[in-house]
């Protein structure tokens, strides 16, 4: 909302020495956020009123003229101009060197300099209204029309800001910061708040007293939706421009002046915050009735939008049907027309939520509806009426009021609140005297009666539309008037009840830190919604997947039941820049199943879990290497993050996985995740070109943190242990798990073998077809003595013999 300081000063006498920066700061700290304070005259620096003395043709251009222009102090300057309405004796706006304009009202601001136009020296520029930001105040009929200021009786050389009454300050207030303060939506409301903040006198708007006898009346069908309706029937008006000061202020507040009749209604709304409307009385048949619309009833709005109404809509009607959508917009039938001579002025109060529903239903939020929907106080109609009548009489001295009706069907109850002073002191953390409290509240218009510990507060009507209703609201008023920044910070005290022990939280963090710091992976975030491309490629089914009803984009409607589709998308996006990387994400996944009511028995929530997903992508590593990297990250995770371990099994291939390279992850008998190689077809569908991608996904809700660290201490070996590598030929299909079992299983191949580890495997040259060579590292030692080399070799031989017998392995001879 934009406010003019000079307009605010109509209602409150702000001391001349009050620093405007301080005013804006104080309003921001205590009431609403002032986003900008603009010294309006600065826009018109280096601009003066000039008088065109003589117009001469331009020697080199048909469309340009050279205007000998008086810019004051006897200075006559040559200014080249292409305006179509130039005439001698015309008063114009001259931008002198240094002024800032926009060419044709568009684009970036430009600083005016002395320049040559087609070979002729030109001093500055004679401006069109849009070029100096006044297009809305002085609309031009054609683009090349120059702003004609002949109606302003000022001498040449008068600064433009003085001539056009632009020596003002504009306050820009963040609308969001005042949604809860309907009383502030107007210059009077802000003036009232400033008066309260500084203890300044506020000007009262004297109510209008009607003295007319007639049968003019207004009927209200639903007092809950329309609490008050004042209608004033007047004759002797006409459509004409409103006075410049009124236009100027309407423009400063961000609206456009139209004509005197419309301008009065907008001006009054901007002043008081209460919307008003004027009907052409000749277009109203019989009298006005405010009622609900009938189902299917039609109304054409002022903007030519045709509505088919429903009974929740409130309409202003005459005997022929709806003439306006109450509190939102007038209808085209009743509009002020060029021939209008009689009007009915509407000053009314409508209930907020109904107005909001209707405005949203037809997508027509207007200046009026956005004020009504914040709950305007019906008493404010008196101010709006008084100001309206003052301006009607000023602008139309011949006017006659022919009918008047104030149908005030539902009086507003002032909010009454009892506040314990002891409670207030405790919550404020500060002892204010009763006088201080009373004074702060009374400045805001509250009535205060103190009786012992009880303070009885009566809120003013303008704060009683829902804004102030409980004692906490009263506390807030005292606190903000005192200034939040003026309260000293007091530390809170609290009882010690025990150390924070959240193993589940520690585990999640432990896993993420393990993956990032120990496994060298990068944590990423992706959105909860998945692109259809990756859903189809990776999940291949949308059964049990939840959808958004208004998704960010049509192909982003599914919300994730797995982290893998988005991780595949991340891999595809990063392929352009990286050829070897690993990423992980920890986030929530959702399932359209297993609805439960964990908090409120009526609230059924779908199954939601937290998963960790990871992708290892490389075009440099071979599949075995990549597989072992991913598997290693999983295998060592329980040890490093202190949780119960898990096992790998091959039960059911994940749909996205390669036919050979995959594993299911189990904890006990429960499958808690999968790992595997992204199948080539899926990878291609994801747009991944050259990278091999190993994925895993784990349900972290199934992971169980250990109560404490469980590493056991083993005595250091008393006698040396030796690593002894053997390479043997196995059938190509032999698996390490069996080899390990043969060496280290129940019946150990040799008591001296402490551990057997996989070194590598090899197929290819020098290895017979259908075979592979596996290199195994044996750790051999004894707890009783240092072994001789014969003893070590014999232990290794026992292992080789056993592998030969059990798995048909042969010693590699070459």
């Amino acid at each position: 909302m934009k406010l003019s300081l000079s307009w605010i000063k109509d209602f409150v006498q702000i001391p001349e020495d009050l620093d405007l920066k301080k005013l804006a700061y104080d309003l921001t700290m205590s009431t609403v956020e002032v986003e900008d304070v603009e010294d309006l005259a600065r826009r018109f620096d280096h601009m003066v009123v000039g008088v065109i003395e003589k117009i001469e043709p331009h020697p080199n251009a048909d469309k340009l003229r050279v205007c000998k222009t008086d810019i004051g102090n006897g200075e006559i300057k040559d200014i080249v101009c292409g305006g179509i309405n130039l005439r001698e004796g015309m008063r114009v706006a001259v931008s002198c060197p240094g002024a800032v304009v926009r060419w044709h009202g568009e684009g970036e601001p430009v600083v005016i300099k002395n320049s040559k136009l087609r070979g002729v020296e030109s001093f500055g520029m004679i401006c069109a209204s849009s070029e100096i930001g006044l297009g809305d105040l002085f609309p031009a009929a054609e683009e090349a029309e120059i702003l004609d200021l002949s109606a302003f009786d000022v001498p040449a050389g008068t600064p433009l800001a003085d001539a056009l009454d632009m020596n003002d300050v504009l306050l820009e207030i963040d609308n969001k910061s005042m949604t809860n303060r309907p009383d502030l939506w107007g210059h009077y409301g802000i003036a009232r708040e400033i008066a309260a903040l500084y203890g300044l006198p506020l000007k009262e708007i004297k109510p209008y007293a009607a003295d007319v006898q007639s049968d003019f009346h207004v009927d209200i069908a639903d007092p809950d939706r329309c609490t008050r309706y004042i209608g004033v029937e007047m004759s002797g008006v006409a459509v004409k421009p409103s006075p410049y000061q009124m236009q100027n202020r309407i423009w400063k507040a961000g609206m456009r002046p139209i004509n005197a009749l419309v301008d009065i209604t907008n001006y009054v709304m901007l002043a008081t915050g209460n919307p008003t409307h004027a009907f052409d009385a000749d277009n109203i048949t019989d009298h006005i009735v405010v009622r609900h619309a009938a189902e299917g009833e039609k109304l054409v709005l002022l903007n030519d939008q045709e509505l088919t109404l429903c009974p929740d809509d409130l309409v202003i009607t005459d005997s022929e049907g709806p003439v306006a959508l109450a509190g939102v917009m007038g209808g085209s039938k009743d509009s002020i027309l060029p021939k209008t001579t009689r009007v009915i002025l509407e000053v009314a109060n409508f209930e907020s939520t109904g107005i909001r529903r209707t405005a949203l239903r037809y997508d027509t939020r207007t200046e009026a509806s956005s004020r009504y929907e914040k709950a305007v106080d019906p008493e404010r109609c008196d101010q709006a009426l008084a100001l309206s009548m003052q301006y009607f009489k000023e602008l139309y001295p011949e006017l006659t009021v022919t009918g008047f009706c104030d149908n005030y069907v539902k009086k507003l109850e002032k909010a009454q609140i009892d506040v314990s002073l002891a409670w207030l002191a405790k919550r404020l953390g500060k002892d204010l005297t009763n006088e201080e409290i009373q004074n702060k509240l009374e400045l805001l218009g509250f009535e205060v009666q103190i009786d012992g510990d009880n303070m009885h507060v009566t809120a003013p009507t303008w704060r009683s539309t829902g804004d102030i209703s409980i004692k906490d609201d009263v506390m807030e008023e005292v606190a903000r008037m005192y200034g939040y920044d003026n309260f000293e910070a007091t530390p809170f005290t609290t009882a010690f009840t025990g150390a924070i022990n959240q193993k589940d939280q520690d585990l999640l963090r432990g896993i993420k830190e393990y993956l990032a710091f120990r496994c060298g992976m990068q944590e990423v975030y992706t959105y909860p919604w998945m692109n259809d491309v990756y859903v189809n490629a990776v999940l291949q089914s949308t059964e049990g997947v939840l959808r958004l009803s208004t998704p960010p984009a049509p192909d982003l409607s599914y919300i994730r039941s797995s982290l893998l589709p988005n991780l595949c998308e991340a891999v595809a996006k990063n392929e352009r820049y990286f050829s070897d990387f690993s990423i992980f994400e920890e986030a929530q996944v959702f399932f359209d199943r297993n609805y439960t009511a964990p908090y409120d028995e009526t609230e059924l929530l779908p199954e939601q879990k937290r998963h960790i997903g990871a992708a290892f992508a490389s075009s440099e590593k071979d599949i075995t290497e990549l597989f072992r990297e991913a598997k290693g990250v999983l295998e060592y995770m329980p040890r490093y993050t202190h949780m119960e371990g898990f096992t790998f099994r091959k039960e059911e291939k994940p749909v996205w996985a390669d036919h050979v390279v995959w594993l299911n992850i189990y904890r006990g008998e429960e499958r808690i995740g999968d790992m595997g190689l992204l199948a080539k077809k899926v990878s291609m569908d994801c747009g991944i070109k050259n990278l091999s991608v190993m994925l895993f996904e784990l349900d972290t809700t199934k992971l169980v943190p250990l109560k404490s660290r469980t590493n056991k201490f083993t005595h250091l070996a008393e006698y040396p242990e030796t690593d002894y590598d053997i390479s043997m030929l196995f059938d190509s299909g032999a698996v390490w798990a069996d080899i390990y079992e043969a060496i280290m299983g129940q019946k150990k191949a040799s008591a001296l073998v402490k551990e057997a580890s996989f070194v590598d495997e090899y197929r290819g040259k020098q290895i017979p077809a259908g075979k592979k060579s596996v290199t195994i590292r044996l750790t051999i030692g004894s707890s009783e003595k240092t072994l001789t080399s014969q003893e070590i070799e014999s232990a290794a031989n026992q292992v080789m013999k056993k592998l030969g017998k059990k798995l048909g392995a042969e010693l590699r001879t070459q």
Binding site: Y484, D485, F487, T494, Q522, V524, Y525
Partner: protein
């Protein structure tokens, strides 16, 4: 003979002092004190001397030999200390090798910094599910029935769950505060917990607006809390996170679920409060709304607002991280772009 000894001694001292390597030193040793060394050879000449001079000269010779041996040992130690295994041309300006290791997301980093700060003050960490009902997103938070945020333009409703009564309408949570009510319902007061999480708004995105972003809520509920207590909490947290005292101001603000409510601004850390484009030239950045939980919210959580009160803040994590690193586009956080993420070690 005495003169001879002294001249040899001064000669050998010079040689030892100028020896540049151990092998040179070894040569000196054998040339003077070795079997054929000049001092050893003098020893053999002792018997040729007059008997009464022999003891004195013998003593002098032995002293000389010992002195030379000691000097050589000392010099050898000195050379050892100076020695290097590599050529003096070794280039110490070659760059180091990056330790292997990945990174947490910058928002996770900020979240963990805050967790550590709050835990040090005895706060628990709470985590809740992303899908919630209108009942918990709005009703229990004192949002009037026609609050604009309830409309679909702001909240992501789930298909098949987007109509009916408020307990039946499900959405991706638009804020965290509903989850705080769940915590309060299932725990006994007093409360002191933080609640980090991702929230969702159906909005148009730009460099400063996202559809998914992170909030970090902190809530204290106890019997005797003044709203000014919260100031202490905010000051200590921000100074811990930014490593320096960050000026903070509290000003009037409005949110349905708090009464009174305020906006908490921190001094812009980019310009130090002088005013810059980041803070729109005001020197302050809005970082968190806060306030005392509205009595209706406490009631919804099953507490008596006459007995309990509290202090609440909701920190915009994205904005805090943007401030910490000077990130100028909030959309980068969800981009999964490694070129961006790799910068935050």
């Amino acid at each position: 003979m005495k003169d001879k000894i002294e001249s040899i001694l001064s000669e050998v001292k010079n040689k030892i002092a100028s020896a540049a390597s151990e092998s040179e030193l070894q040569n000196v040793k054998s040339a003077y004190v070795g079997k054929q060394g000049s001092l050893s050879l003098l020893m053999k000449e002792l018997p040729k001397l007059e008997p009464e001079k022999r003891p004195e000269m013998g003593k002098l010779l032995n002293q000389a030999k010992n002195e030379v041996t000691e000097l050589i040992d000392a010099k050898r130690m000195e050379l050892k200390l100076k020695a290097s295994e590599v050529s003096p041309d070794f280039d110490c300006s070659v760059p180091g090798i990056l330790p292997s290791g990945g990174r947490l997301h910058p928002i996770t980093q900020m979240c963990y910094d805050l967790n550590d700060a709050f835990r040090s003050m005895g706060f628990e960490i709470f985590q809740e599910d992303d899908i919630t009902s209108e009942l918990y997103a709005f009703d229990k938070l004192n949002f009037p029935p026609n609050h604009p945020a309830r409309e679909s333009m702001d909240t992501y409703w789930l298909e098949g769950h987007d109509s009916g009564s408020t307990n039946e309408k499900l959405c991706l949570r638009p804020h965290l505060t509903g989850g705080s009510v769940r915590y309060m319902q299932t725990h006994k007061p007093p409360y002191r917990f933080v609640y980090p999480g991702r929230v969702y708004r159906n909005e148009t995105t730009d460099a400063h607006h996202e559809r998914a972003f992170f909030q970090y809520e902190a809530l204290i509920v106890d019997k005797d809390i003044t709203f000014t207590s919260g100031k202490v909490m905010i000051n200590s947290i921000l100074s811990k996170v930014f490593g320096t005292d960050v000026p903070v101001r509290m000003r009037s603000g409005f949110f349905p679920f708090v009464e009174p409510g305020f906006e908490i601004d921190m001094q812009c850390q980019v310009c130090g409060g002088k005013g810059c484009s980041v803070c729109k030239h005001v020197g302050w950045i809005e970082v968190m709304p806060g306030g005392s939980p509205h009595p209706n919210v406490l009631r919804a959580a099953g507490l008596d607002p006459d007995e309990y009160t509290g202090f609440y803040v909701n920190i915009g994590l994205d904005r805090l991280v943007m401030m910490r690193y000077g990130v100028d586009d909030v959309r980068l956080f969800h981009s999964a772009d490694l070129r961006f993420l790799k910068q935050f070690r």
